[in-house]
């Protein structure tokens, strides 16, 4: 909370605020001191909040018309697309909204990786973020099952079957998840229930995520601790609000382009074929945002180890604050880490591409190398880099790099040494 005490000016406000300090909270949120050098990569938190709210609002509307029944789900989606007023708009926003949500979350995560936002004292923010990301994947996967198309059905079959890899109890767990002996109506109804529940869990975690953020305050591109409030900060409102708003509008233009002009480009054509347990599609592919993990899963020849590798690939992120041994946060001052960072970005994109290709021949080989490198990055490169890397001198305040150098003899001298 803010350092200064806040008292509402009106009598009614004071009366209310003494009993429920909502006005203090509102005051804290508007005055919240934010580093003034945040770049546009920092606007994705606000964009993600927008995505979550959009998904919840459109989802509620869709749920009023959707029928969660194996015989009627596909038809009810067509009913929404044809006969519900602007049903096509709501459904296309919801379907593309999932992709936009993941696009934003990946940028948000990779921003953290670049600027070391997960490091002390922000580990809890980061871990909550990883839990949100996991829940997002669960929600997205179950949402994709609801239209009950071919990819819905077979995607659900493939993913739920992963649990059968668990020794001894695996088969029992799969039957329990399905509510029967195959993916069928009981599976659909429980997926619908959970798909409805998870966004509200995410909403709660988002509150915790922001709460945890407001304790140490934002990291920043320079990655140094700053005094709050000070010359280095601006109040959240209006400075960050308008900047986030501007970035959000840009994002919405991209979003609108997908919704209005290529609403189906991110989906798979097979999902417009009604689910048929007797016909298996030629290639079962998950949505694009799950492809890197799908590639990791398939690159391990053993089923159980494949599942372990896929889950580890996500969970390893949770321990990242302790795997990265460097005390310097921002990659701006870590010349070696910066290079490895971009290699990791390329590695994940390659994994994503391989996830969309059939798991055979050269594709499989590349996927295996990329999987190995993914783990190498987190388990070997990051821990070692913290000790070996010669980092650049960091400025003492944000004002220095922004204004082109306040007199600081120690850093200036260090810079000269590097030039020599």
């Amino acid at each position: 909370m803010s350092d200064h005490e806040y008292t509402p000016s009106s009598k009614v406000g004071k009366w209310f605020n003494d009993r429920l300090p909502l006005l203090t909270l509102a005051n804290h949120l508007t005055d919240y001191p934010t580093p003034k050098n945040l770049n546009y990569w920092w606007t994705f938190g606000g964009i993600l909040t927008f995505c979550l709210i959009t998904q919840i609002v459109t989802g509620l509307t869709l749920a009023m018309h959707y029928i969660a029944h194996a015989d009627m789900a596909f038809e009810s989606v067509e009913h929404i697309m044809r006969d519900v007023n602007y049903g096509w708009l709501i459904r296309y926003i919801h379907a593309n909204g999932a992709s936009m949500f993941f696009l934003a979350v990946y940028i948000h995560i990779f921003r953290s990786l670049f600027y070391g936002s997960y490091k002390s004292p922000r580990e809890i923010i980061w871990i909550i973020g990883i839990i949100i990301y996991l829940l997002m994947m669960a929600a997205a996967f179950m949402g994709y099952v609801l239209p009950w198309g071919q990819m819905s059905f077979w995607g659900a079959t493939v993913i739920t079957n992963l649990f059968s890899a668990i020794p001894l109890v695996g088969e029992g767990i799969v039957t329990w998840l399905w509510g029967g002996y195959s993916v069928d109506n009981p599976t659909l109804t429980r997926f619908f229930t959970l798909h409805y529940l998870i966004p509200f869990l995410i909403l709660g975690l988002v509150v915790l995520h922001i709460w945890a953020l407001h304790v140490p305050g934002n990291n920043n591109p320079v990655g140094i601790d700053i005094k709050k409030p000070s010359k280095d900060t601006v109040p959240f409102h209006p400075y960050i609000v308008i900047k986030d708003g501007f970035a959000l509008l840009m994002f919405m233009i991209v979003f609108a382009f997908f919704v209005f002009y290529s609403p189906n480009i991110l989906g798979h054509a097979d999902n417009y074929i009604e689910a048929n347990p007797m016909v298996t599609p030629a290639h079962i592919v998950p949505e694009w945002y799950l492809l890197p993990f799908y590639a990791i899963l398939r690159s391990v020849p053993d089923k159980l180890l494949g599942v372990v590798a896929m889950l580890s690939a996500i969970l390893i992120l949770a321990v990242l604050p302790w795997l990265d041994t460097s005390k310097i946060r921002s990659a701006v001052f870590r010349p070696l880490y910066k290079q490895f960072y971009w290699i990791l970005v390329a590695d994940v994109l390659i994994l994503g591409y391989m996830g969309a290709m059939p798991a055979e021949g050269l594709y499989l080989l590349i996927a295996r190398v990329a999987t190995a490198y993914y783990f190498l990055h987190f388990l070997v490169i990051l821990p070692v880099l913290g000790f070996k890397e010669k980092t650049l001198p960091i400025p003492l305040s944000i004002t220095e790099p922004v204004l082109g150098g306040s007199p600081n003899l120690a850093t200036a001298k260090h810079k000269e040494d590097i030039v020599k």
Binding site: K36, V234, K243, L249, M250, I253, F260, L266, Y272, V402
Partner: protein
């Protein structure tokens, strides 16, 4: 501003990467034609839709159902836009089973505009039995259910050829160079002058393919025209608002010594 350009280029790159990776590899290059419904202002060609309906109902509909489309849709804005009288006449030309009535009996009656398209077969099994085991897929969302979309359907209709030497075809199986695996259980459905267009257009295979594919696109996306119109307005609105917010932001941030 430099950061902004960086951000935009990364966004553009990612969306490009995403769209290219989600398009699976196509085996044969599909035939292309100029679709009137593509692009920012894309609209259906009304004549093509009406002719396409004629091809569908006289040729395709003997095997392929279109169970999510209603007769009333044929008269709605953004569709073939038949007149109310024409829609009623079209609907009335089909018979369907309704009931039970007060006596508990099923009965047949002419279809009404509010009815869904009458299906050629009672059920999937009946359709399979009549078509050598292959189910003629429902055409309501067919163009969205095939990789390549309209280009694929358009090509497939014109892709019938004699099988190259070395490929043997079973009874009731035909060779089509655009079909996945090249073997298709549907005989070439179109031939020149197979039907006589009401508007006097020359009924070549190419013309009929284009018309019926346009009709199928509408059947799958009946609100495509209003989507395009609304999209244009929405994006223009967003761009203007973005520009205004950008200048407001510049003004607000001019109070602090920092760049946005």
């Amino acid at each position: 501003m430099k950061n902004l350009i960086k951000l935009l280029s990364v966004l553009a790159f990612i969306s490009l990467a995403v769209t290219t990776s989600s398009n699976s590899a196509e085996t044969t290059k599909l035939l292309k034609t100029d679709w009137s419904f593509k692009g920012l202002f894309g609209k259906f060609d009304r004549g093509a839709l009406q002719r396409g309906y004629q091809v569908y109902t006289e040729v395709c509909a003997s095997c392929h159902s279109m169970k999510y489309v209603s007769y009333r849709n044929l008269g709605e804005k953004g569709g073939p836009e038949f007149s109310e009288a024409e829609v009623k006449a079209i609907a009335a030309s089909f018979e369907l089973t309704d009931g039970p009535n007060a006596d508990g009996e099923m009965f047949t009656r002419p279809a009404k505009p509010s009815d869904k398209f009458v299906m050629p077969y009672e059920n999937v099994k009946a359709a399979q039995a009549a078509n050598g085991g292959a189910y003629p897929p429902d055409m309501s969302v067919l163009v969205k259910a095939r990789g390549g979309g309209v280009d694929y359907i358009y090509s497939l209709l014109q892709g019938y050829e004699d099988a190259p030497s070395g490929i043997t075809l079973d009874e009731g199986v035909y060779y089509n160079k655009y079909m996945y695996g090249n073997k298709i259980k549907m005989a070439a459905p179109l031939s020149d002058d197979l039907i006589e267009y009401g508007d006097g257009t020359n009924a070549t295979v190419e013309q009929m393919s284009k018309d019926v594919t346009t009709f199928l696109m509408w059947a799958a996306e009946p609100h495509l025209e209003s989507r395009h119109q609304m999209g244009f307005k929405a994006i223009i609105y967003l761009i203007i608002l973005t520009v205004l917010v950008y200048f407001s932001m510049k003004k607000i941030w001019s109070r602090v010594e920092s760049e946005v």
